[in-house]
Symmetry: C2
Subunit: 363 residues, 2 copies
C-alpha cells in the first residue's frame, strides 16, 4: 500500500485511492507478508516465532508458493519473478535458491515454479560492504566530515562487529532532522494528527506520513474483516521474533544463482543512506563479474528525463540506480520504478531480459 | 537578478518581482560586473580585453572601490566584505589580497577599505583538486561507473593537463539531460519560447530558465537607458577576452589571507558537480588547518529544517554546505543562502564572526 500495490491509503486513513503506477498494471502480483509473525501472517505455534530466521523464511515461503499453485493450478508454469527490498536482499536470493534447488533435485516439479528472475531494491546484501558503503555515502553527501570518515574507516576496517560499533557511533553523532532512508525527503511530524513536514528539498508527491495511514487502515476491524484476515494488531515489523540465522554476505548465494543462469536485477534509490547504492556497488564488485553493458543513463518518459543509470554484467546481473529516490523506491519515485520494472519486460521483446513479471514483495 | 539581488525578472522578460531573500535586506551591496568586458563593464581601450587576467581583474576592482569610496565617502571605514561564486574562488581571494597588501603598505589608507572577510560559494580554488573532486562527486552520485572512476583516477593523477583531458573524456561519455550545475534540477527547454522542463526531482521555486529572462531584460534598450548604462549587448560571459594569468591553485593566497587573520567563509551547494563541495574539502585539507568546530548540521528555519552542514577551522576559515542547492546557491535555495549570510552576522553578536556584510558578487 506504500509501494507497488494498486491502492494508497488516503490521509483520512479510511479510504483508498488508486496508485497510477502500481506494478499490478503490468503483472499479476502476490503480496506475501513474510516472515510469519509480521503483517497478517501468523502461526499457531509460538515456537515458530522463536526459531525464525533466513532459512525458515525461505522454506516457509517456498511451501506457501507450492500450496498456492496447487490451489490456483491455472498459474502453474507461468513465468515467475521474486521481488523485494532492503532485507529482501536476504529473503529474495534465498527463496530463489530454495526454489532452484528443489527444481534441480526433482526435475519433474521444475515447471511448478517457473522462476525467471529476481529483482531487489536497495538490497542489504553484505554486512561489511553495507557499513563501508554507508560511511562512504554519508561522507560523499556531506553528512559526516573528512575527520569522521577517516576515523570510522580506520577503526572499522577489520570485521563486521567492529563496523557495527563504529556505525553506531557515527549515527549518534549525526542525528538531526534528516531521514536516513531519503536524505532529501520531508519529515513526518509526530503527534496526534500526523502532518507532513513541508520540505524545501524534494516536495514530490510522496507523503512521508503514509506509513501511519497504512497502519491505522489495516488495523481497522472492518478492513481486517473485509480482507478475511484473522483479527490482529497489524504491524510491518515486530520485536517478538528471535532471529536464528543470517549470513554475513549474500555473495555466495548470488554467485550460485548467476551460475544457474538466473537473471538478477538489483536497483537502488540514490537518496538512501541505509542500504546505499555505493554499498551495492561494492558487493557487485565482490561478485567478480565482467561488464557487458557499460554504465549509461536510462530514460523515464517522453520528456527524456533521466531516471537513473544502469549497467549490465556477465551472467545476466543488471544494476540500476533510480535518481532522487530513497530506500523505498516505488514510494518515492513510483513512475520511475514502474518504468524500470516495465522496461525489463519491454527489453525482453527482442533481446534477453525478463518477461511476464510476477513480483512477490517482502517487507 | 538571479541570485542575491533585490529583484527577479519575470517570465514575461519585461517586469520584475521582489526577491524575498535578497541579501540587500541585511547589507548594503555593490554589484560589480567584473572583469571589464562582461555585463555593462567596458573599456575604451581594446587592449584591455586582450590583456585580461586574474591580476588585472583584482587591480581594476581595487581601483574601482577606491574611486567609489571617494565618491561616496560616507561609506569609508564601514565593515566591508567581498562575496563571489565559482571562478570567484579566484577573484575574491585575489581582490582581498590586493586590498590587504595595500593596507599593509600604506597603513594610513587602511580604513579606506575596512575589509572584514570574504565569502565564496562553490569556489573554483584549485585545478587539480577540482578535477579530482569532480570525478569523486560524479562517482558517488551515480553519474559515472566504478570502471570510469578507476580509469580516470589512474590516468589523471599526474598533473593538471592530464586531468583536463580525462575530465573532457568523462564529460563526453556522460552527456544526458542532467544539468551539471544542479544534478537534480529541471532542464530548460531551448526554443523560441523558453519553457521550464517539468522535473520530478526538485520542483522547487527556482526557474531554470531565469538566465534567459535576465538576458532579454538587460538587453532591452529602455532598461539600459533607465540604468544609465552605455547601450551594449549585455552578456554575463564573453569569448572576446584573452586570459593572461590564472594560478593553478589559490591555496597560497588563502594561506596568506588566513595568516593576515582575515575571516574566510566558503560555502557549497551540494548538488553541484562542476565545483563540487568534495573539491572544496580537498583544497581545505591542503591548507593544513585544524578543526575548531566539528562538522554539524545548521538549521534554516523554525521548522528545524537542516540547511546543510558546517565546520570551523583555526584561523577563522568556515566551510558550510547548503543542502540540495546547485552551483548558484542563492538561486536554488534563496532562503538557506540568506540565512547562511545572516547567521554569520548574528554569530558576531557575542562571539567572533562577520558583521555588517557588504557583498560584491562577481559573475
Amino acid at each position: 500500500m506504500m509501494e507497488v500495490g494498486p491502492f494508497r491509503v488516503n490521509k483520512d486513513k479510511r479510504t483508498l485511492s488508486e496508485n497510477m503506477h502500481a506494478w499490478t498494471k503490468v503483472a499479476n502480483v502476490i503480496f506475501l507478508e513474510s516472515p510469519v509473525g509480521v503483517g497478517f501472517s501468523y502461526s499457531n505455534k509460538t515456537l515458530d516465532f522463536h526459531l525464525s530466521g533466513d532459512k525458515s523464511t525461505a522454506d516457509d515461503t517456498f511451501v506457501f508458493l507450492l500450496n498456492w499453485l496447487e490451489r490456483f493450478p491455472e498459474y502453474k508454469g507461468r513465468p515467475f519473478y521474486i521481488s523485494g527490498e532492503s532485507y529482501g536482499g536476504h529473503y529474495v536470493p534465498q527463496l530463489a535458491a530454495t526454489i532452484l534447488s528443489h527444481n534441480l533435485e526433482n526435475s519433474s516439479t521444475r515447471t511448478s515454479i517457473n522462476l525467471q528472475g529476481i529483482l531487489v531494491g536497495n538490497p542489504y546484501l553484505d554486512a561489511n560492504m553495507n557499513a563501508k558503503g554507508e560511511v562512504d555515502y554519508l561522507w560523499s553527501h556531506g553528512m559526516i566530515s573528512d575527520e569522521a570518515w577517516a576515523s570510522i574507516t580506520k577503526k572499522c576496517s577489520l570485521d563486521q562487529r567492529g563496523y557495527k560499533a563504529c556505525v553506531t557511533d557515527m549515527h549518534g553523532a549525526d542525528q538531526s532532522n534528516i531521514d536516513p532512508y531519503d536524505i532529501y525527503a520531508s519529515v513526518c511530524l509526530e503527534g496526534p494528527i500526523e502532518t507532513q513536514y513541508p520540505s524545501r528539498y524534494t516536495p514530490r508527491s510522496y507523503d512521508i506520513c503514509s506509513d501511519r495511514y497504512v497502519y491505522v487502515y489495516l488495523n481497522d476491524p472492518r478492513v481486517q474483516k473485509a480482507l478475511h484476515a484473522r483479527p490482529t494488531e497489524w504491524t510491518h515489523c515486530t520485536s517478538e521474533i528471535a532471529w536464528m540465522d543470517a549470513p554475513a554476505s549474500m555473495v555466495p548465494t548470488l554467485k550460485w544463482l548467476i551460475e544457474q543462469h538466473l537473471p538478477v536485477w538489483l536497483y537502488s534509490g540514490d537518496f538512501d543512506s541505509v542500504c546505499p547504492f555505493i554499498a551495492t556497488r561494492y558487493t557487485i564488485k565482490d561478485l567478480g563479474l565482467n561488464v557487458t553493458e557499460p554504465w549509461r543513463p536510462w530514460i523515464v518518459n517522453e520528456r527524456d528525463e533521466v531516471g537513473g543509470h544502469v549497467q549490465g554484467y556477465t551472467g545476466g546481473l543488471v544494476f540500476a540506480t533510480v535518481r532522487a529516490a530513497g530506500h523505498a523506491v516505488p514510494s518515492h519515485q513510483p513512475e520511475a520504478a514502474l518504468v524500470l520494472m516495465h522496461r525489463k519486460r519491454l527489453s525482453s521483446k527482442g533481446s534477453s531480459g525478463l518477461d511476464g513479471a510476477v513480483a512477490v514483495p517482502t517487507p
